[in-house]
């Protein structure tokens, strides 16, 4: 021990050598995400006559390693809006906190959401899904323009100004689009064709009931588990309707059948 307080509790130079300051850089070029690290795979969602069904599996992968198996990638914003996150999990957590602070600020002015139970609008929030999607698109576009993207593709599900079901996507570049059914990542290849058979256009949404919509999503989750190597058979599913959000975060894929597997030829060591 010497008489210099700043040296107390530090590795001694005479034992460990001088501290290499290059490991702790406070200056130098500004760093930003160049690739996602812990990632979630597909998010899929479909509109039906009274709302939206949205699902993700509960896996967060570290490259090809199935790293975290209870990660909830559907995040509820308010009573009638929910977001599904694909891509980087840490960026998702940042956005989740951002949305929480937004929700709290929104609540300042409208704490009376339960005040008028004679009115049927008790579930209507000051920010609906459409508003939130616009907000998210600005956040994402701003971050990409700063060359510091939030590495996600996000589906926003809920209701629009016209109180019709709303479903839209925004990604790390700020690109936005809306469609009767949407899927991110692998789901865009595997699930979207299945969902488009059910809702080929906006008009067909009005003819789709909740049960069919939920079943379509569950079927798609199964297909994704069969063919997406970064997926898992535990998943979350949410049904957004005027009555609120029915979010189940601990679903298991039922009735799996791997009978198709032995008909697959030409992969790996199997050549005949």
């Amino acid at each position: 021990m010497n008489h210099l307080p700043q040296a107390w509790g530090r590795p001694r130079d005479d034992v460990y050598g001088a501290y290499d300051h290059s490991y702790f850089q406070t200056s130098g070029p500004k760093q930003s995400t160049q690739q996602p690290i812990v990632t979630g795979t597909s998010v899929i969602a479909i509109k039906f006559k009274d709302g939206v069904v949205i699902a993700t599996d509960n896996l967060a992968s570290y490259g090809s390693l199935a790293r975290f198996t209870d990660v909830k990638r559907l995040r509820q914003f308010n009573k009638s809006t929910i977001l599904g996150f694909g891509g980087d999990v840490s960026d998702m957590q940042y956005l989740d906190r951002l949305l929480l602070s937004l929700a709290i600020r929104e609540n300042y002015s409208s704490y009376s959401s339960a005040s008028d139970d004679t009115d049927d609008t008790s579930n209507l929030e000051s920010l609906n899904a459409k508003n939130l999607h616009t907000y998210m698109s600005k956040v994402m576009y701003r971050r990409r323009s700063d060359f510091n993207p939030l590495w996600n593709q996000i589906l926003v599900a809920g209701f629009g100004n016209d109180e019709k079901p709303f479903l839209a996507s925004v990604d790390l570049l700020g690109t936005t689009f809306s469609s009767p059914s949407l899927a991110t990542g692998f789901g865009a290849h595997l699930a979207q064709p299945i969902m488009r058979k059910v809702v080929p256009d906006e008009a067909s949404v009005a003819n789709l009931d909740k049960e069919t919509a939920v079943q379509t999503i569950r079927d798609c989750m199964k297909v994704l588990f069969y063919r997406d190597a970064r997926s898992m058979d535990k998943y979350s599913i949410a049904v957004v309707t005027k009555d609120g959000i029915d979010l189940k975060e601990d679903e298991k894929l039922e009735n799996q059948s791997w009978a198709f597997a032995d008909r697959i030829k030409g992969y790996g060591t199997q050549v005949v």
Partner: protein
């Protein structure tokens, strides 16, 4: 112009399909790989504009793509500028953007705000010529990190004639009779040259060899132009995978903006 989208932005000798995602992994000579974030993508689609004596027509398909995927079958590329409220009441200028859709949306919102502010400050609507100039400045100001879009602006000039302006991503612009932009620009533009400006059309038996008289271009009537637009897109859909799903048309006349949607092939 179209080569901006069809050629890869970084030095790369691969084939230049517009739907090809730009590689973001750079491999140096010593074998180290560096990932980097590339802030652009191409969302495909095509737009076109033709002006007439007392109208301007802008059109665009409504497909949005990323790579071989269709994001959505209905994402408009045409925007009314400077109108009031969600229905854009009172607007008389239309902007079409094709290329990177997020930049397109940002550009649309910037221009819309500018045109609205002009109205609030000066108490009159902005002329198309002024709006065109302003759009050029917006694009040029961001020339070192451009809006990756090919914009076409349409309206009626101060004499009531159809006015059409086309832009490159960094703000170079020109008033034209007609212009096609986007993925199928290279397919549609020659067709328009021939059918709108009568390029390579000659008056039969007006002379031999170099004496043959070219057919003189004239302002086309509205229904002819609408047919040309439909034909152009129907043909583009056949030959370009990024074009299809729906055709959105906006016809600007002295009575305002008329919007027409018609389906295109979804394959």
């Amino acid at each position: 112009m179209a080569s901006v989208f069809t050629a890869p932005p970084l030095a790369d000798n691969g084939p230049g399909y517009s739907f090809k995602q730009t590689p973001t992994t750079h491999i140096s000579a010593d074998g180290t790989r560096q990932h980097s974030f590339y802030p652009y993508t191409d969302n495909g689609g095509s737009t076109l504009g033709i002006s007439g004596a007392d109208f301007t027509i802008l059109a665009g398909d409504t497909r949005s793509t990323s790579g071989y995927n269709i994001n959505s079958r209905y994402v408009p590329k045409l925007f009314k500028i400077g109108g009031e409220g969600p229905e854009h009441t009172g607007s008389s200028i239309v902007l079409s953007v094709v290329g990177f859709a997020a930049d397109g949306d940002a550009l649309k919102e910037r221009l819309d705000t500018v045109v609205k502010m002009y109205k609030y400050q000066h108490g009159k609507n902005m002329s198309v010529a002024a709006c065109a100039q302003r759009l050029s400045h917006i694009l040029y100001n961001k020339r070192f990190f451009p809006y990756y879009v090919h914009a076409i602006l349409g309206g009626l000039d101060e004499e009531g004639k159809g006015a059409l302006y086309s832009y490159d991503p960094v703000g170079s612009y020109e008033r034209e009779q007609c212009r096609a932009a986007g993925a199928a620009a290279s397919l549609i533009m020659p067709f328009l040259d021939n059918q709108v400006n009568y390029k390579n059309q000659y008056i039969p038996a007006s002379g031999y060899g170099h004496d043959l008289q070219p057919r003189k271009a004239e302002l086309l009537p509205r229904n002819t132009v609408e047919e040309l637009v439909r034909d152009a897109f129907d043909s583009a859909v056949e030959r370009h995978i990024e074009v299809g799903d729906g055709l959105q048309m906006m016809i600007i006349t002295k009575d305002g903006i008329e919007e027409v949607y018609s389906p295109l092939k979804k394959d």
